[in-house]
Symmetry: C2
Subunit: 384 residues, 2 copies
Amino acid sequence: MNTELIYLDHAAATPLDRRVLMAMQPYFSDEFYNPSSPYAPAVAVRRVYESAKHLIASQIGAKPGEIIITAGATESINLAFNDIDGHIIVPSAEHHSVLNCAKKLDATTVSVDKYGMVSADFIKAAIRPNTQLISVALANNELGTIQPLRDIAQVIKAERETRLLNDNKTPIYFHSDASQGVGQIDINVARLGVDMLTMNAGKIYGPKQVGLLWVASHVRLSPQIVGGGQERGIRSGTENVAGVVGFSRALELVNDHRKYESERLAKLRDSLQMVLVNTFDKAVVSGHPKHRLAGHLHISFPGIDGERLVFILENRGIMVATGSACAANKGTRSHVLTAIGLSDELSDGSIRITLGHLSTPENIKRAGEIMIEEIKREYKRVNK
Amino acid sequence: MNTELIYLDHAAATPLDRRVLMAMQPYFSDEFYNPSSPYAPAVAVRRVYESAKHLIASQIGAKPGEIIITAGATESINLAFNDIDGHIIVPSAEHHSVLNCAKKLDATTVSVDKYGMVSADFIKAAIRPNTQLISVALANNELGTIQPLRDIAQVIKAERETRLLNDNKTPIYFHSDASQGVGQIDINVARLGVDMLTMNAGKIYGPKQVGLLWVASHVRLSPQIVGGGQERGIRSGTENVAGVVGFSRALELVNDHRKYESERLAKLRDSLQMVLVNTFDKAVVSGHPKHRLAGHLHISFPGIDGERLVFILENRGIMVATGSACAANKGTRSHVLTAIGLSDELSDGSIRITLGHLSTPENIKRAGEIMIEEIKREYKRVNK
């Protein structure tokens, strides 16, 4: 390819920020010690590790002791579900990690509206006396729709009070997968009203296979991976000091620039959306018009083959997705689009565009021009 | 500290080899794509990832499809135990990761001899018709004793034949944790006769929180962590491409230099052992005199406080351990030393010295001199 590459799939993966890599560097080959070793250089590394967890905790309004470091969001989600044996509630448009955890349990799947939004009332209606867990992502990874976590938290709070009155001792927890949205939304566990929160370094310009589960102190949780007793016995394995230092630096960086960056991305995304919608009057934008992540643009072109379009755009140097990477890889229709009731024609003509650090006014403008050119050509081809 | 540091705790952690870091570098910020994404740069990253797994597989005589990448040895061990619900057998001197997995099951703990060696006959005697798993480390992490895996494999093979004759359909698997010993022992899964093998990049100068479970194709295994379906559905989570590239490079490097390096380390270790044993006639070396990892020297000085000695040596710039880092951190007496029947006095006066890449003839000579000086001083103090 001779063309300059334009990366528009930040929801699938983000490049490691050079400043993050720089922060990690000392802990690869120099300060490589096992944080559990007794000698001073290892104790120093332990302190660095704990400070990094401290910093992460402070960024989300949590206590450091409540943070369990994991190998990414998928493990965190599995850990959040680990102790559950009763009824659970998940929305139909959740990520496969959540849906596959739910499969093993007595689960009620609540439907979402046409924007992919979860209704607190639907959650309320689905709660049973033995409901133990409700898991709702902070934002949908395909549509960018931001979920009303605080409203759902209110419902759960009310249920807790009912249980107290009824002497029902079954605990009910609220977990949120915040893999998408960190760095664009203010994450404060108390304000969100959750009991457990999953975060992923690999989606915020941090290292891959590094994540966390924040667990409020009242939550009962037993380990999924046992061994040397690291992470207060909840998650064993020699600590990835470089990874956690990188995670904390990445979180700090995205939070420092959160307001500026989300405004910048929303502006760029809106400009791209406008030119596409203005050019193709049958194009349909999915995801909530207002409560949507700043970088997300899910758009469908009826009559066009989305997968073919991804391939055509790739030939022009533009990287977009049809859906989440792990699902798209299997070549099946997106369960998220089915969940929002999108017609097959629109589903099949969908692409997911996600902006981020690599997006600039220039490359978004250029991407818009190329997309218009190629989609027009496709429409000409199919309408022959 | 003004003194040059002498690191003698390679069994606890190894520095990331600079060549490994160099191999990983492109996949942090440049080729950062999600390997499941459809566009060419991501497909190229997928190929790199699969090639790295291929290379790892070929190094251990396995097929690439049999390798499940995990976040390190602890997760691999937990995964190996994941589907087991019947009887299992583990030796008493195993690492806590194995013992803690065993705790949740109907487990027979077989004793080890005074060298920490497991007897195939003891395993044979412990096998029941419903035994599903036998897990024996390749080498003991505290003593360095190399286990007779092939003899145990023969016992298991015979049991399989008996079951076939008796129409007993219960599968019996042999798992080995090879966290210690890779790079010093030739690892070939067929020759070892195991059905599952755990390996850890962080102990062979590779990245931390990267490991694998090799699983023979006949083994039934269900996922512990579900989600996007990565690693053939057995272990979900966006792949750590840099980590796996680093793992494969690290394995290649230690294997390339295996013969030379183990001879070099054995020579250095023997020289250190000799000066210590010659100077302190009551010193006791544990671990098998012949079947022992080249870098391991477990030595006890009766009457001396091992933990105090670690601290004293640290002040002189020498880093050694009293036992495995995660256990030592808890300040309890080593279960391994109890298992080999070492007296409390010897246990309490033990240190574990493990040599590796950072060991040189000069710093081992120097370490010996300092140790002699300090241990003599300690004996003077306690014998006053």
